[in-house]
């Protein structure tokens, strides 16, 4: 079920809010778990059992790791937990990738499994892993109540497209959370903002990307428009989803960490990854990079660590070579920044360092969204005029004009300009009162507009559902 669907907004959500807030405190987790399982089952009936199995594995391993704490057996159960989770993820997400490449490399003819990717498997697997690893490390207490642990993993706001919520982040709130008017109002606002980002901006930019792909008259300029549109599309799509997840979480009393922090104003790739999909990059940092030694090792090992982590980051996004290359592309520039160009970027004028980041990110997302490496190379070379396309065509001009306002709004919206302006205005009591009056009006208008776009719209996929 998509957050940005009529079924979610007008059938599921009202029922959930009613059920949740009328149920007694001790039943609230059970209500959340039940509706989350229904939410998952609605989108993926076949794989609901797989998710429940993953939760049970995490629960059982947590108990066993804790029971044998201080003994070697505890580590055995940790290894068992990690390997079974990775095996399940590998089987459902990566088996065909390895089969295809084995067949291509050795001329074998192993059959492909052709399984549909279970929705959100990468997210709930990583959440379960974070739980068992944190229990082993002593960073989290073992959860003996299976309902509570299942509620953590299956919680519908972040279940299928993140952010990856660590167990330790909401450990306390799973059993002792408060519900308040302020939390509800903040959550509702944040949810509507995310919904607007997704429906009004991301979907329109997604349409433009589809138009580009179907175009019969591509041009160099159109390739650039596509690269920019997709960069903005994926940001508004994914950060919009994160906003909705954070907002819904807050309504139910959970405080999720931020997943995006205006990544397109970064002045280096290093900074970009501190601001983009923060829950994923910190997960890899804490559970892969640092255990491998991080940067407190000799330089060759350090470089190796970076390459492995970014290769895995790319691979996490999809079982195709272009995702691996996408991850390695960032590894390359992270290494370059750490070893050579970082100091120059720090001294460079902001406009230059930001242009450097935006250029690399736009190119990276062309790789990311390509249908294989061949297409990625063709698109990138076409951006630089190496494929013989004309610089501009009438079609490019038409769609550029048609989407100019949306692109402009998206470009401004991807910076903290609006947020800073509002915060600055809120310092003045009169302006704050006016803003407070305007906010509910904006919310109703947004909800009406969002509904109008949903009722009439046909283009509404969530990019991160495929991960």
């Amino acid at each position: 079920m998509l957050f940005s669907s009529i079924v979610f907004l007008y059938y599921f959500l009202p029922c959930v809010l009613l059920l949740y807030f009328i149920s007694p405190k001790r039943m609230k987790n059970l209500v959340l778990l039940s509706v989350s399982l229904f939410f998952y089952w609605w989108g993926e009936p076949k794989y609901a059992l797989l998710m429940i199995f993953t939760i049970l594995l995490g629960y059982g391993h947590g108990i066993l790791i804790d029971k044998f704490r201080g003994e070697k057996t505890s580590k055995v159960f940790l290894i068992s937990s990690v390997s079974t989770s990775i095996m399940l993820l590998g089987f459902f997400k990566y088996a065909d990738f390895f089969t295809k490449n084995t067949n291509a490399l050795f001329g074998s003819s192993f059959s492909l499994l052709n399984f549909a990717l279970p929705i959100g498997i990468s997210f709930y697997t990583f959440q379960t892993l974070s739980y068992t690893i944190d229990v082993y490390r002593g960073d989290a207490k073992v959860m003996k109540n299976p309902i509570t642990l299942a509620t953590y993993v299956a919680l519908f706001p972040q279940l299928i497209a993140g952010p990856i919520v660590r167990y330790t982040t909401i450990e306390e709130e799973l059993n002792h959370r408060t519900h308040s008017l302020d939390n509800f109002a903040y959550g509702a606002n944040r949810f509507v903002v995310g919904l607007a980002k997704k429906i009004l901006i991301a979907n329109a930019l997604g349409e433009l990307c589809e138009i580009f792909r179907d175009s019969g008259e591509k041009s160099v300029l159109f390739f650039w428009v596509y690269a920019i549109a997709f960069s903005l599309h994926i940001y508004f799509d994914f950060s919009g989803y994160s906003d909705m997840a954070i907002g819904l979480g807050r309504i139910f009393g959970f405080h999720y960490l931020e997943n995006f922090n205006y990544p397109y104003v970064s002045k280096s790739i290093t900074e970009f990854w501190r601001r983009w999909h923060i829950s994923l990059s910190t997960w890899f940092r804490d559970y892969i990079y640092i255990p491998m030694g991080g940067n407190r090792v000799k330089i060759s090992r350090w470089l190796f660590n970076i390459i492995v982590v970014w290769m895995l980051t790319g691979f996490w996004h999809g079982a195709e070579w272009n995702f691996i290359v996408w991850g390695l592309f960032f590894a390359l520039f992270l290494i370059l920044e750490k070893l050579w160009i970082g100091k120059y970027l720090a001294k460079a004028p902001s406009v230059l360092s930001r242009a450097y980041v935006l250029l690399l990110v736009a190119v990276s997302f062309v790789i990311f969204n390509a249908d294989g490496m061949k297409e990625a190379i063709t698109y990138i070379s076409a951006m630089f005029g190496l494929q013989g396309y004309p610089f501009i065509t009438d079609e490019t001009l038409y769609y550029l004009r048609s989407y100019a306002v949306i692109i402009g709004i998206a470009a401004i919206g991807s910076t903290p300009l609006l947020k800073n302006s509002v915060q600055s205005l809120q310092q003045h009591p009169t302006a704050r009162r006016i803003l407070n009056t305007v906010e509910p009006v904006v919310m109703v208008s947004s909800l009406l507009l969002i509904t109008a776009y949903l009722v009439d719209g046909s283009f509404n996929p969530f990019l991160y559902f495929r991960f």
Partner: protein, 367 residues
Amino acid sequence: MNDRTKNKAVTSIFILFFAVSSLLIVLHEQNETSEKERRKLSLLPRPTFENMLSTEYMTDFDKYSLDQFPFRDGFRELKAITQFYVFQQKDNNGIYITKDTVSKIEYPLKGSSVVNAANKLSYIYDSYLADKNTNVFFSIIPDKNYFSAPENGYPAMDYEKLVALMQENIDNMKYINLFDCLSIEDYYVTDTHWRQERLIPVVERIAAEMSFLDRLTEVYTINKFSPFYGVYYGQAALPMAPDTLYYLTASIFDDSRVYNYETGKYTGVYDMNKLDSSDPYEMFLSGAVPLLTIENPKAQTDKELVIFRDSFGSSIAPLFVEAYSKVTLIDIRYITSDYLGSFITFDDQDVLFLYSTLVLNNSALLK
């Protein structure tokens, strides 16, 4: 408003908005069709064990929830207004509005589809018309974008290439060019179709090429019907003036009989009941019919005409009637061409393949 009051207002509005909307959804009665969009709407699916275990039920329920949303047309209008006037987008769902007309962008040219259409026409020729003493012609009707797109700078298919592809892939038929007989004024503003009362130059061009111009003498009377809400009126979802539908009448039509092979019944050239339907353009020869004949008992010749056509053919075909004793119209979007031999004997007829660019560019429709 202080922070506390604002939070109360936001919370109340959020809850009220979804509560009231959900209540309206529950109270809303299902509509089977949408007049404005001219389509059947999805109805509440029935749950079964099988469809609940697959995603079939959920997919159908999603469609139902969209189609049966209360005030759906109002929301569509709000979206269109926002799209055009706030976001300054040039089209809404591919509908492009100019001061002269409303069009649906048909782009790009699908070469393989055009070749497929040409092959289908050639197949029919080889199957039924070769060595049958028939005079075979083909002609292409430009859609509105041919005239409107260059003026307004929106993308349109490469029409020259389309014609060239058809000519390259069709042998044994003579091509009749209609592109220079038409202008944007010859089409309805809110509909895809051409206007019957403005087709005389087109009829004369075809008649001249097919050598029956000397058999056309009828004088027609122009009749009106309004308001006529064309297919793009509902799709555009914007307030706009409706068209007036024009149709020609003549004594020859009163004497002619139309036989519908599907219903097995005779009717008139015009089905006036259709003027009250969601698509009044279907008044011409009763709209989408796979196979029909127009019999002209007062014909001065025993010559027959066969037209392979799409919906544009419905309004022009009556204007050929006086030149033939029988005009047969075949729409292979609704009847498989392999079955035609069971209904029609092809021998010593004039044959015209008359298709719009819209159908040629989407020829998977042709059976």
